[in-house]
Symmetry: C2
Subunit: 104 residues, 2 copies
């Protein structure tokens, strides 16, 4: 069972899309931030500030990355990167558990 050690976690959840997407913010000793989130089935569009690395822990979703015309399916154990200051679309097919890391 993979754990993140020696982190702080914000007690209050981040809640989006009426709770269909929620996440928890964790902060590492060196100041790095990640979010651990759940997406319920549905269609969503997100904007990025920093670059994002999305790792799928469980679930099934289709993703349309910025400047792409082709949707790509991701499942547990897979990941994708989204450039900074862009937006991407998701169609979540099955409840999806993810870990998001933020770049420079």
């Amino acid at each position: 069972m993979e754990n993140f050690q020696n982190v702080s976690i914000v007690k209050k959840a981040n809640i989006y899309f009426d709770g269909n997407v929620t996440s928890r913010t964790i902060i590492f000793a060196d100041g790095e931030k990640k979010t651990l989130g759940i997406m319920m089935p549905g269609e969503y569009e997100f904007g990025t500030g920093a670059k994002e690395l999305m790792e799928i822990t469980a679930g099934n979703l289709d993703v349309l990355l910025p400047n792409n015309t082709q949707w790509i399916t991701f499942t547990a154990g897979q990941s994708f990167e989204v450039p900074a200051n862009s937006s991407f679309k998701l169609v979540v097919r099955e409840v999806t558990d993810y870990c998001c890391s933020y770049g420079e």
Copy 2:
């Protein structure tokens, strides 16, 4: 913004009721465990092992505690305790963010 400091967090979410109830497990330096969870609107019944203290961070729900006939409404900032080895029912009216602590 309240944080839990110097904890470990399990990367993988706990997923119940088709994702309508999810939680993240955090473990403190002294071994104490809490879960931070989200409940979508709906009706649920849970069983306890250890005693549970449920703190509501956001949301609105009605709770039927064991051996009670009266439903009680809880909202942000309120909490309730559930005895060990019992079961309780919930009717979640609005997306609910909670922190659950476990007793002896």
